[in-house]
Subunit: 206 residues, 4 copies
DNA sequence: TTTTAACCGAGACGGTACGTCACGTCTTGTG
DNA sequence: CACAAGACGTGACGTACCGTCTCGGTTAAAA
């Protein structure tokens, strides 16, 4: 992700601030977010206390509240960061099914530790953080573009699918079904990836 | 509501209890659950306090804790109640598309007032309430059976679809995509119902 | 002390409250005040934390804040209570000097543990608690009356002093000099009592 | 100011320091102390924050901590400064009463702005600052000597009092009674000066 | 003149205490 | 017994201040 977060209290003083005072230690930023992600995955959103995040990050509570206005915003940014490192383009496996499966498995692997509670936290945070919503939209766009530019174009070149396939719908369906899986307490494992590809995505494309 | 709640503390004293003292006022039960649903929809799961539920229901906190062991269980039952009144069988509109659309619109109408925050509350509650999960599963089964027995059989009779359509997958996809819609802050309105039917469900069935 | 404290949050609902709910445990009240007095004497006003008072009293912080609106008010009442148990009338020692000395020593003994820091806390609290000021005034009045009615009348009967002695001035001087002694970090011991009586009070009366 | 402060961190680098670098701006010293005195008088010792002193003095917090080791020491020196400018010898008014009254009024005038809160701050600071205590003792000594050398000797010359009057006691009484007046929230005004002289000091001397 | 070292404003930082709020338990009196 | 009212222990929240520390920039004396 390129742009800065809207959840931060004082991003980019732009032009009016003479840039004075001791600069913030950016390293602490990541330590706090990492600790937050870990703790949410371990005990859930509610049971995660700001104090425990501070303790695990080796940081004082004030340092957290200097950056985020509350627990909600902290979690929102932690969630946002989780999805902000676009991974490498997936290899060509030779078939649409193989490509989809590889993408699903890669994505699911990156979400190890993500469970329903965490997703619930994210979903709730989205409601009061427009920037987070935009970040997620951008994230979806990245995937969408990748699928369009790579997977779908490959499949079309192979003659596996026709030219008028609607990718946005495909992505929404994949995300929605995966979300439901998570919220139902079930894991995003390989069998689910196969189910998703074989029973949902492939039928939708044919 | 069909099944009894496993979250209640002491329903049905069976037969060994002397059954003495003042009986519970069952009317308060519904008042509490209604207040809970309203408040969750208004301020979200976290910001909803048991105290505020008691105040709005015109009830004391003890009366709530006498019935449910905690906030989670209260919310769980409130959610359960929302989905436990099976509506009448949908009419035959003459086409699969019309039937699906009617079902979607009826269901969405019943969820008016349900937003991402409430769904988030439900999703979170599910994680620590197996009974709620089962209730939701039963609920899904009801819909599944109805779709199987009515919509799909009608469509097959009309020759609109082949015989090997997988209904479970269809339901999961519909629920997942709708959930994502809600969580994205968007409403379950008629345009969405059409999108769901025309771009997702119908293609999946063909 | 007869009257209630003005520092309490909800004293005497008078007539409008139906007197319902679980009653406050008055025992906790005294435990908290005792703990507060002890801690102030041990570590001073500033270093005394509300949490430490709660811990020593075996009480939760909420129980303290339910009764007093803040640390200042808690300390104010603790101070007030210290002076609110009028002791028995002093015996007739046979001479004015003996009577005064006995009164001074008794009073000083009751203030064991009271030091400059504690007096400073009291003095500060007085500034934002009119009721405390009145309580202290009442307290002074009690002493004044006692001195007038007993010590002075005995002395006059003995012919030790003339009839027009001004008792209020006497009391103010005694209190002021003792206060200065405390604030200077010196103890209210027997030598000081003798100094007070022999060099200040007796000369003032003659 | 006569004596140097023991509270300063690095006064008088003696002879071993190379004495290089930018010298301290001495003007800031007074600005800080003035701001401290004002704020203590306004909001009290506790509510006065070092940050607010810095803000009012137009100075950074580091500049304060470079000069004093903490809030206590800062306040101690501020208090000390208030009393460290010995005024001119009082005129001979022709009578002991007039001399005492003039002294009291002059002294009280110098303490305009000093109230119970400020005295409380001073009293508290004394407890952890031996140097402040000594400064106050010196201050008392100055007054004592002046009274001894001027007022009392004049009065003796006039035959108003006998030769064996104890001046220390006189001073302690005056200070104690005045302190009590302040702590009771009452002002050190002219009526009080007359009361002090006519009802307390003169009777003590006769 | 250049170097050097301390000064200075600004503000981040680790701590500690504050006062608030909600949860879930308990203890009254009343019906 | 149910119920309303509300005290209670617990523990997290978000705030404020203390005293320390780093920044960049400034200023006078030393080289």
């Amino acid at each position: 992700m390129v742009s800065r977060s809207g959840a931060e209290l004082d991003t980019e003083p732009e032009t009016d601030s003479p840039r004075t005072g001791r600069p913030r230690d950016e390293g602490r930023e990541q330590a706090i977010l990492d600790a937050a992600v870990d703790l949410i995955a371990e005990v859930g959103y509610e049971a995660m206390s700001v104090e425990s995040v501070a303790a695990r990050a080796g940081v004082s509570k004030a340092t957290i509240y200097r950056r985020w206005s509350g627990k909600t915003e902290l979690v929102a940014e932690a969630m946002r960061r989780m999805h902000d490192d676009p991974d490498a383009d997936p290899d060509d496996t030779g078939s649409l099914r193989g490509d989809l499966l590889a993408l699903a498995q890669t994505t699911f692997a990156k979400m190890s530790g993500v469970d329903g509670g965490l997703m619930c936290g994210l979903a709730f945070a989205v409601r009061s953080d427009a920037e987070l919503g935009q970040a997620l939209d951008r994230h979806k766009q990245v995937y969408r573009d990748r699928v369009t530019d790579l997977l779908i174009s490959r499949a079309k070149a192979r003659g596996e699918i026709s030219a008028d396939t609607e990718v946005p719908t495909l992505m929404d369906v994949a995300a929605g079904v995966s979300l439901l899986q998570l919220m139902s307490g079930k894991p995003l494992d390989d069998p689910f990836a196969e189910y998703l590809v074989d029973r949902v995505l492939i039928p939708l494309l044919s």
